[in-house]
Amino acid sequence: MIKKILIANRGEIACRVMTTCKEMGIESVAVFSDVDQKALHVLMADYSYCLGESEPSKSYLNIEKIIDAAKQSGADAIHPGYGFLAENASFAARCEEEGIIFIGPPARVISNLGDKTIARQIMIKGGVPVTPGMTQTEPDPLVLAREADKIGYPVLIKAAAGGGGKGMRIVKHPGEMQDACAAASSEAVSAFGNGAIYLEKYIEKPRHVEFQILADAYGNVIHLLERECSIQRRHQKIIEETPSPGLTPSLREEMGKAAVAAAKASGYVNAGTIEFLLDREGRFYFLEVNTRLQVEHPITEMVTGIDLVRQQIEVASGKRLALTQKDVFGRGHAIECRVYAEDPARGFFPSPGKIRFFQQPTGPGIRNDCGVYSGVEVPVDYDPIISKLVACAEDREKAIAKMIKALGEYVILGVKTPIPFLIDVLKSEPFAAGETYTDFIEKHFGNWTPGEGDIDMALISYLMNEISGRDKTQYQSSISQEALSPWKTLGNWRL
């Protein structure tokens, strides 16, 4: 069994992994860059290793330094979290070579599924529905245009190495083909160092629905139901929920089977996510596999009651899955909001800086996977996520109400956050109606502004604080009136 895990990550996800480690009696090792010396994940760990300069390539992306830290600390295993090295096949391979357990799928699986055309081929062989399109990359725009004619416009040009919307172009008319190919390929070169592109049918106004899967090393695969992740800005999810408002029980069963088939076809081991696009007619198409713990995994944990990190660690230890498909059932409805240090009023531009006051919402059905605390700096160097707030209640309407209440009570002073934006989205008619398609933000909140708010109350607060500031000495001295404690009278022996 694993006794000590190095977490090759930072922020909320490193903290999340350590929580389960501690419950399992496993020691945790944090790694950190210079700017993260006082980061929450460092405080939470049993041991910590400094990786040096803050630049990701010199710290959290530096394979040599991380392997070295694992060896020095005597860690049996490495958990990569998400981002950074989580889907880096060479890192997984390097761990395998060094005899360190990589908590994730085998390097070969990461590598195969990381290439979109290979992944498509695997899925087609496994009988998983894919969007009509090519299974090979193609440099010649003329060949691509012929394929587009066969599939029918609109089509989507995609980069083989793609991710995060980079190297993607929608083409609605044959005339746009040549320019779009050139643009997508050059974008892909600069983003991934690989300009290879291919072409798929473009699905209009889809939902993004993904299935959580769990697989052990003995061929047992189950799914843990779906997550709907259609609320995105710049191709990044910001609100996720489960169950999806777009699924019927029979569609859920069908998609779940496809997800399990996808995992089996790729020889998957450990936790992973099969992403699908779901069109308005209830047809679904394989999109990609995320070969790691997903950012939005907590909503699955809330509705299934299963700790996914524990499952990951047990599978990585070589254990068989203790769960079968019939042990998995969802109850209630969970919603996650991603809370970044960013300014929703100015194009979600990052807003790093010192958190001057921080107070998390709490209460029944509330979970906040968090990586910061009062007084800490959100550094400019990394993804500016502060936390993921999750609300779970009996049904969707109650979960929305719970989330709106929790967001309203989430105090983060010193950096901007999307909280007022998230509240407006959750209170909106189309969200309440479950009309969550991938164009949701663009369509309904493209021109969002925070609005005036309650200026009067802000002015009143300012004044009362000024007034109270004058009494600050008095306030503080009352704090130190310790002499009045009844315990003073105990004399010098204890009851």
Partner: protein
């Protein structure tokens, strides 16, 4: 007591009267509010405004006093104090003729050339930082007088990327 407080570049004259030991009357324009409060901690006030309770959280930031309640933050600045200080703050409501990056970043694209006329809010430069690209917009309508960077440059906060000469609007 009279205050001139700035929120979102607007100045609000506000008066505060002490009614008795614990009660205050705040007047904002035509509106009057009867207020009581308890200080709960360094960052928290519990207010009773016209009989309804509300908790507000406060902290000092470089830009002014940040005040949070009901899921929304407000930046409040004392205009008189500002004047006394003699410094210009970012929310002081005056104009600037500079486009700078708010943080260390790489220039991805310059979208204007010298001599161009730009509208308020028009994209001027695209920079990339913290794993995301962002467009810097013109803060007002004007004429681009100088471009100091090109695509690929690393820029630091405070470096002026583009100079824009303001054309007065009717506001």
């Amino acid at each position: 007591m009279e205050y001139n407080l700035i929120i979102n570049d607007k100045t609000f004259p506000v008066t505060l009267d002490i009614q008795d030991g614990k009660k205050y009357v705040v007047s904002i324009g035509e509106k009057q509010f009867s207020v009581e409060f308890d200080r709960i901690g360094e960052h928290l006030l519990s207010l009773d405004v016209n009989g309804k309770k509300i908790n507000t959280y406060l902290a000092d930031t470089p830009e002014g006093k940040e005040i949070f309640f009901n899921g929304k933050s407000y930046l409040v600045i004392d205009a008189d104090a500002l004047e006394q200080e003699g410094t210009r703050k970012s929310s002081g409501g005056k104009s600037s003729d500079e486009v700078t990056s708010p943080m260390p970043a790489v220039v991805i694209k310059v979208m204007v050339k010298e001599g161009d006329m730009v509208e308020k809010g028009q994209g001027v430069v695209v920079v990339s930082a913290m794993k995301m690209e962002t467009t810097l917009f013109a803060p007002f309508a004007g004429c681009v007088t100088k471009i100091n960077v090109q695509s690929g440059d690393k820029v630091m906060p405070g470096v002026i990327l583009v100079d824009i000469e303001k054309i007065e609007e009717n506001t």
